[in-house]
């Protein structure tokens, strides 16, 4: 019940296309859902996050869609660019503001072809 399942494991998208990464969870107590982006040779960095009281959050070309009833959330990257090529991790936590731990998905390696 503590798992976060992420798919696909790898993704190849043409420049200008839409990249979509999906995550599913079981624990309905989760109340914070961030996405982290990791470039080669670097540590992961927070990209965007959402709380379950909203169904969508957009920051520039990056959008999180959240479906509470299906216990799924996804990252959409619009107009994908070669500079977006990285590994993306979804995560979930309960009681995050009270020190809750993040549980990460398995990661998706995104490659955007020019």
């Amino acid at each position: 019940q503590q798992q976060v399942k992420q798919s696909p494991q790898s993704l190849i998208v043409q420049k200008g296309g839409i990249s979509i990464i999906n995550c599913a969870y079981e624990n309905t107590a989760f109340d914070y859902f961030p996405w982290y982006q990791q470039f080669p040779g670097k540590g992961p960095a927070l990209l965007i996050a959402i709380r379950p009281d909203v169904s969508e959050k957009k920051e520039g070309r990056f959008t999180i869609s959240f479906n509470k009833s299906a216990k799924q959330f996804s990252l959409h990257i619009m107009d994908s660019q070669p500079g977006d090529s990285a590994t993306y991790f979804c995560a979930a936590s309960w009681g995050y503001n009270q020190g809750g731990k993040l549980i990460f998905g398995q990661g998706t390696e995104l490659s955007v072809k020019p």
Binding site: G43, P44, K101
Partner: protein, 115 residues
């Protein structure tokens, strides 16, 4: 900007050796974490610490220990390294108030190879 610095980027050790991985953060964060990153398995929490001299086990603590003698420093110790501990190790920190409270900030990682 919060900086989390892992002193060793690449290490090669032999089976049975004792290994120390050091992590220092410069933003006075209370919380520090050690994760292990393996392809297809994502990031798995080894240990974390909410305060100096405090530590709690994460999801995969077996074969590891930690030390937090000062607030800014969190060390991961492999008492007797084994080949299945070959991995990328990531340290992270997180504050408890203000804008840093929700952001887990990672170091660049330490890639350990055990022969």
């Amino acid at each position: 900007d919060v900086k989390v610095t892992q002193s060793s980027r690449y290490l090669v050790k032999r089976t049975g050796e004792k290994v120390f991985l050091e992590c220092v953060q410069d933003m006075d964060h209370e919380n520090m974490f050690w994760y292990r990153q393996d392809p297809g398995l994502g990031l798995r929490l080894i240990y974390f610490s909410y305060d100096v001299k405090m530590k709690e086990k994460g999801d995969i603590p077996e074969g590891y220990s930690v030390s937090r003698e000062k607030k800014e420093r969190f060390s991961l110790i492999l008492e007797s390294a084994s080949t299945n501990q070959t991995s990328m190790y990531l340290c992270a920190s997180r504050g408890t108030a203000g804008s840093g409270a929700n952001v887990l900030t990672f170091g660049a990682g330490s890639r350990l190879t055990v022969l």
